[in-house]
Assembly symmetry: C2
Homo-oligomer: 354 residues x 2
């Protein structure tokens, strides 16, 4: 710390992302990256854009990408789309533009751990709403005075999805608040709330290209909702950084969104592997929460999760373990390739039988 720091800088408790070790031969199942490379069309578009035109600023509005995203959803107009430097940046702008009110916002007690960090950054009051004992979001728990509501669907790190009817119940029951549904993992099996945005002016849906488009390294996220909600985000963005997306990210993201065939093939492959992995883990005695994401959240009644994660690490397999109340006996395991998952299951079998 130093006397030059602002009070905000002193008070922050920053988010800690999953580690990105620079080791070879690692089975890396800790940060929910897609095990397969992105669309070859996205890679080709990026290579084409790596030209002398990089001397020029990108389109500050990202108009072509907004149009591609809108067209991909169908009933959505480009003015209903906001794009940013990863969904984390999009979420940050949402907290400042749409969730900072007098009343505290609500989010689940077990959820994406960046939410309370944004609250600290922007001075947003918040209250947490406990998940049920089976780690589900119960819509009726969100019927109380609030300054806004945010939750991931499927939730992280549980992987459990809330059906569209439940989301609609929360959104309809809170007409005076913005409800943000953070759909980072939605393409792996949950129902998207984008279907509800045209009938609900208080609903904002956030998605990312990091997971189901295999582009975590490109940093592109977006939000879809009523054009007036998007306008608030644009005002904050234009007061922060005019050009959040570089030319390569814009070009690659457009091509990725437009490659429907790659997208369908990829997500089905991940879902198929998840199903096999879940069965194998259950056979080893793990409780596996029903997952609609590209990871599984599991615990073993006879084995400590922190210790298991450590033993896996000794075998060059890394998974994520959160030392947090209610979930400290769980491991979050990213769905890798079939080979990676087989290596994980084999290592766990060895550890459990030792």
């Amino acid at each position: 710390m130093s006397r030059y720091w602002s009070e905000i800088a002193k008070s922050l408790t920053p988010y800690v992302p999953g580690e990105q070790p620079k080791l070879p031969d690692l089975v890396k199942l800790n940060t929910n990256e897609n095990p397969y490379g992105p669309s070859p069309k996205a890679l080709a578009a990026i290579r084409r854009e790596a030209s002398d035109d990089l001397r020029l600023y990108p389109d500050p509005e990202g108009s072509r990408l907004k149009a591609a995203i809108a067209a991909n959803f169908g009933e959505i107009k480009p003015a209903q789309v906001f794009v940013g430097n990863g969904s984390d940046e999009v979420l940050a702008h949402i907290f400042l533009a749409l969730l900072k009110h007098e009343r505290p916002i609500l989010f689940p007690d077990i959820t994406y751990s960046f939410y309370p960090v944004y609250c600290g950054l922007y001075g947003v009051a918040h209250e947490t709403v406990p998940l049920t004992d089976s780690f589900e979001i119960r819509p009726d728990d969100y019927f109380r005075a609030n300054g806004g509501i945010i939750f991931p669907n499927p939730n992280a790190p549980t992987g459990r999805a809330l059906p569209l009817a439940g989301i609609q119940r929360i959104v309809s029951g809170n007409p005076d608040s913005v409800v943000v549904v953070d759909e980072a993992y939605v393409d792996f099996g949950a129902e998207s709330a984008v279907a509800l945005v045209n009938s609900h002016p208080n609903l904002l849906v956030v998605q990312t290209l990091s997971k189901s488009r295999s582009l975590a390294g490109l940093r592109v996220g977006f939000a879809v909702g009523d054009a007036r909600l998007v306008e608030a985000l644009t005002r904050v963005k234009d007061s922060f950084n005019s050009y959040p997306l570089d030319r390569l990210a814009l070009a690659g993201a457009c091509a990725a969104i437009e490659d429907h065939e790659w997208f369908e093939r990829n997500r089905h492959a991940v879902v198929k592997t998840r199903s096999t992995l879940s069965d194998q883990l259950a056979a080893l005695g793990f409780e596996v929460l029903p997952s609609s994401a590209n990871f599984v959240f599991v615990r073993h009644r006879q084995h400590d999760a922190g210790k298991l994660a450590q033993q896996l690490r000794e075998r060059s397999i890394i998974v994520r373990h959160f030392k947090l109340p209610r979930i400290e006996q769980f491991m979050r395991i990213t769905v890798g390739t079939d080979e990676q998952c087989a290596a994980l299951v084999s290592a766990l079998r060895e550890i459990l039988s030792a």
Copy 2:
């Protein structure tokens, strides 16, 4: 506006960047882009990075880029370097982490127009300090109580540079404040204050790869200063977006920083063209402020600047005109290629003699 907007979202007056028209055959001299393409080594590095590895998150710390920047300066350690998604994002974090104090910050009355926007975004009080009649920063004007000081060097949009001795005077005279020197244009002829950071713990220097590295389209900026100042920025960054720089930007930026030969050749070419352009504009009766940047700031006593800019636009040449007090009779003209500058001079000759 909508009832869902936060008070902040309602109150903002966003920054308006120079336009990025999508017209062909335009002589685009309005946003200070470098007229030459970036280092071929940077383009090659980007193409190499456009691989299946894009499925993986980037290094959240940007360690290799920090090391490359530190090595490029010599006496600087990687822990003294902060990297961000363009210098605009770096500046935004600086306003929140290091310039938000009880006392108002100081910046020139004529300067980068994003500074008051950041103040609005984060609730930072500010006072402006008039430039002299010849549009110079006078260091002694900054000897008064303040919560921080920020100015570009060379200043924008004037292009005038403050010599290193003047910067040192401001930094030494304000030991209780952070002094931020925004060196977006420094490589075109001013002295960098990076030479002072090891002896002044309250000095932070910001640079960008947008101008002198021809990478406006890649969005990479950085700050150099005392490690404790950098730590405050890192805390804010890690509370906002863990991965502000994508893999392509990190790879391209490293290669660009390391290509010394390209860098020297490019900046000397721009400086040479600036010199010719300045002489030719003076011969046409323009007052040309002495520029240390990749643009010139000029006025003509007999011709209205707004009208001149409009007449140039009708000839497919765009320059920047600010409708602001004290400078509304100036045009800011980016130094283009020799051919672009010849086209500009020829068009102006025609307009003035009409």
